[in-house]
């Protein structure tokens, strides 16, 4: 294949078609990471069972009960956030004709992604053995919660359940007797699995480009979560005891905390590592008397007297704003940053310059802010090209143009709730 001439910012994944059977977070996010960089991602969904993220409180209005019943599928902000740049077809996989159309689409696709429970693809007749018959070099990616095999494979598991099993949740908390926090207020395991699935997919695409071969990839969400926790698993074996919650304590830094600032519920993160950084920190504060306390002279001393040190630092930070403290410490080469909420982030000049938030025109919402690209590629950056698709918005393109179904036949299939 010859590269297109004069195309200064090509989309690096534009050659690839991905069929996205994902629902909720993990599957759709993996597919979106590919769509953002140019893959043609076709989301297969159905009114017979809406993607859970098409349900819930709508962007406009207060009809929560109606939202939960699926009355506002085009007004779900989180859905818009992780399904942009995709095409949508409505296809009822509970019908034989719907499955046949899915097979025809898969035969013309490079990648199929799903986060179904174990066994669902087999029941649909769309497991890897079958898909290979349709398309010998296809890449099939499955993202089961706990795995396709194993004694707990059928356990009902959402992200927090997986985080609980992985060990991660056991260290989200404060030291001492405080009730464990546990929750990270993020669909952590979904995201971790999505990222690994996207990574394995592009690695497999490169492999296919070099060998001509496709493959089946399984990314269990529990294993993806655990794969980032090697330090704790080794710590457990090296010390003979499992790690405990430690709040913001870190043995390589002191001070190291989110400290309270002058306004209510405003905080600043400060991390001081080496003795040289401590000297810079003291200079930034104007050498207050407590900085000269011999107990704080070296790192071991600061770590041993952390409670006293934290009290001194907090008394100082409490007189200033997070931004003033950050500006002053960074000017002295000390790591500091306001603990930002989404308003701070949205208005932050650094995040604005890096296009952390971008707006796109959505037909039902108007101008809508979405998250930007999480990584900046200088020559082939990708980006937001289209908003999240309306339910079945691309039925004509996919069924008529790609699969050659006539308009009359499409009408019949819609009537029969196959294209539905």
């Amino acid at each position: 294949m010859t590269p297109p001439e004069n195309d200064l910012t090509p989309l690096p994944l534009a050659r690839y078609r991905v069929v996205d059977f994902g629902t909720a977070w993990a599957g759709p996010m993996a597919a979106q990471l590919l769509a953002d960089l140019g893959a043609e991602v076709i989301k297969v969904e159905s009114r017979a069972r809406l993607d859970g993220l098409r349900l819930g409180r709508p962007i406009v209005g207060e009809d929560i009960a109606g939202g939960d019943r699926g009355l506002w599928p085009e007004l779900q902000p989180v859905f818009h956030g992780i399904n942009r740049n995709k095409l949508s077809v409505t296809l009822n996989l509970k019908t034989a004709e719907g499955l046949e159309l899915a097979r025809e689409l898969l035969a013309r696709s490079d990648v199929a992604l799903n986060n179904y429970s174990p066994g669902v693809l087999q029941r649909l007749g769309l497991d890897y053995t079958e898909l290979r018959r349709l398309r010998p070099d296809i890449i099939l990616v499955s993202m089961p919660a706990l795995g396709e095999t194993g004694p707990l494979r059928d356990v009902l598991a959402y992200a927090p359940i997986i985080q609980a099993l992985s060990g991660l949740m056991s260290v989200v908390g404060y030291a001492g007797d405080e009730q464990l926090v546990g929750e990270l207020q993020a669909p952590w395991s979904d995201v971790v699995a999505a990222l690994h699935a996207a990574l394995a997919t592009v690695a497999a695409l490169r492999h296919r480009n070099h060998t001509g071969q496709g493959q089946f990839i399984e990314v269990a969400q529990l294993e993806a979560t655990a794969s980032l926790l090697g330090e704790a698993f080794l710590d457990c074996q090296m010390s003979g005891a499992p790690p405990q919650p430690q709040g913001n304590y870190h043995p390589a830094y002191a001070p190291h905390n989110n400290y309270p600032c002058a306004e209510a519920d405003r905080w600043v993160a400060i991390a001081v590592g080496s003795d040289a950084e401590w000297q810079s920190f003291c200079a930034a504060l104007g050498q207050p008397e407590w900085c000269a306390d011999p107990r704080f002279a070296d790192h071991q001393g600061r770590l041993q007297h952390l409670a006293e040190l934290d009290a001194h630092v907090a008394a100082w930070t409490g007189q200033h704003t997070a931004q003033e403290i950050t500006d002053r410490l960074q000017a002295h080469g000390v790591a500091a940053m306001p603990v930002m909420n989404i308003e701070d982030q949205f208005l932050d000049p650094h995040l604005q310059e890096r296009q952390a938030y971008l707006d796109v025109e959505h037909p039902h919402v108007g101008a809508e802010w979405l998250y930007g690209m999480p990584w900046l590629l200088g020559e082939t950056p990708g980006g937001i090209r289209t908003p999240a698709p309306l339910l079945g918005q691309h039925n004509e393109y996919v069924f008529q143009e790609l699969l050659g179904v006539s308009a009359a036949e499409m009408g019949r299939l819609a009537e029969a709730q196959v294209i539905y």
Binding site: P3, P10, I59, P77, G81, T149, G150, P151, L152, I161, A164, L165, G167, M169, V172, E178, Q179, L180, V181, E183, L184, L195, V202, A203, L205, R206, H210, T211, I217, E218, A220, A226, G230, A232, L234, D235, M238, P245, N248, Y253, N257, W267, A269, Q330, A335, A336, M337, M340, N341, E343, F346, P349, H350, R354, Y371, P374, L377, G378, E379, T380
Partner: protein, 408 residues
């Protein structure tokens, strides 16, 4: 006929890593287990900073026994090079001639001073992909700011919402910002390789830890702010904006996590508690209100049932009734987890300086190009002669000279 064992999906990709601590080393580890050849460059004498960090066996520091280093550097070969010296940089330059990806997470002033930033490299190595991971990114007004995992989490928006309302915000534990940025950088680097097939050119892959975790993990924050005007708050042991029950609660011997959004799951849970009539009371039927408006009251209703039971008893009962509720496993329990072990997830790794420990394995199972476990993390300078001698063609006398001069 058995097919030949696959050398990995990234067979033939060459990576030179100048990484320290978590993000770039873990990115290198991920690329290596997918089949790339990764050469890690460390300063002579002490090696990279992770070697000074724990965890260590019995808490005794030793540069070849850091759990962080051992984990984040699996499958690589390692050399020492003093990049402050001209000969050291020249040898790095020779390695970059045959490299596809140069991977670093060093402080920007140092990178620029040594002429190892993308702008300085791209003239000589037009096909090279430079993957640069940093707390806040390589562009923007904070590009030169100092940072750590704590401050990256602070900028990401994750810390603000994590923790109890009456306490300070909690950073994400266990350097998760760095690990996740490492995986993201691996993804973006492979995309850049696929992009190079189209353009013929390398490029800068600029990965900010704060932005990776901030963008991917905070999907609810932006719309909640834009449409509801809520900038953020901490809700402790309960997931906000969900459906009750969705929280972490104490039990007889630890904690459990329950997350049962479906109404059938809630009904089965109430039946298990012996309280099926609660859904008749509007106050305990509106699970969105229970989660958002009076969670403490709602949790107090179910807390006693958990406090009377152990983790094992709760898991058994909830498995039988198909209720999404499991123990919060500590790391020793996760190491013994029957599901992970039935799938041989943990891999024993032998290392010359440590006992054989069980490491978490790669999370992707690729049928045609399985991820690999080739070798443990390198000891400091372990592959100096193999790489500088055999591969760059330096004579033994020249290598000895470089050693004496402190270049390697």
């Amino acid at each position: 006929m058995q097919p030949e064992p696959s050398p990995g999906a990234l067979n033939g990709v060459r990576v030179v890593e100048w990484g320290s601590l978590v993000s770039a080393p873990f990115c290198g580890k991920v690329l290596a287990e997918l089949g790339a050849e990764v050469i890690k460059v460390e300063p002579p004498g002490v090696g990279e900073e992770a070697r000074q960090r724990g965890p260590f066996p019995a808490g005794q520091p030793h540069p070849e026994r850091s759990g962080l280093y051992l984990f984040a550097n699996l499958n690589k070969r390692g050399i020492t090079l003093n990049l402050q010296s001209g000969p050291g940089r020249e040898l790095l330059g020779r390695l970059l001639e045959s490299a596809d990806i140069f991977l670093e997470n060093q402080p920007l002033p140092l990178v620029e001073e040594l002429g190892l930033d993308y702008a300085a490299l791209k003239g000589q190595y037009p096909r090279l992909i430079v993957t640069s991971i940093s707390p806040y990114g390589r562009s923007g007004p904070y590009r030169g700011y100092r940072g750590s995992d704590l401050t990256a989490n602070a900028m990401s928006g994750l810390s603000f919402g994590t923790g109890h309302p009456h306490r300070e915000p909690l950073t994400t534990p266990l350097h998760q910002a760095g690990y996740l940025a490492g995986v993201g950088a691996a993804f973006a680097s492979i995309v850049a390789l696929l992009g190079r097939d189209l353009t013929g050119r390398g490029q800068l892959v600029d990965v900010a830890e704060a932005q990776v975790i901030g963008t991917l993990l905070t999907g609810y924050h932006l719309p909640t702010y834009i449409y509801r005007g809520v900038a953020g708050f901490r809700s402790g042991n309960r997931m906000r904006l969900g459906l009750f029950p969705n929280c972490v609660l104490p039990c007889k011997d630890g904690y459990i996590c329950i997350d049962a959004p479906q109404i059938e799951q809630y009904r089965r849970f109430l039946a298990l508690l012996g309280e099926p009539d609660w859904t008749a009371d509007p106050r305990y039927r509106d699970r969105r209100a229970m989660s958002d408006q009076y969670p403490a009251e709602a949790e107090a209703l179910i807390a006693p049932w958990f406090m009377e039971r152990t983790k094992a008893e709760i898991l058994q009962a909830c498995l039988e009734q198909r209720i999404p509720c499991v123990p919060v496993q500590t790391f020793d329990e996760a190491l013994a987890d029957p599901q992970l072990n039935a799938r041989d997830y943990f891999r024993p790794v032998e290392h010359p300086w440590t006992e054989t420990y069980r490491y978490p394995g790669p999370p992707y199972r690729l049928s045609g190009a399985p991820a690999r476990l080739l070798r443990p993390a390198p000891t400091l300078g372990q592959h100096n002669r193999e790489i500088l001698g055999n591969e760059l063609g330096l004579a033994e006398a020249a290598i000895s000279h470089l050693e004496r001069a402190g270049v390697i």
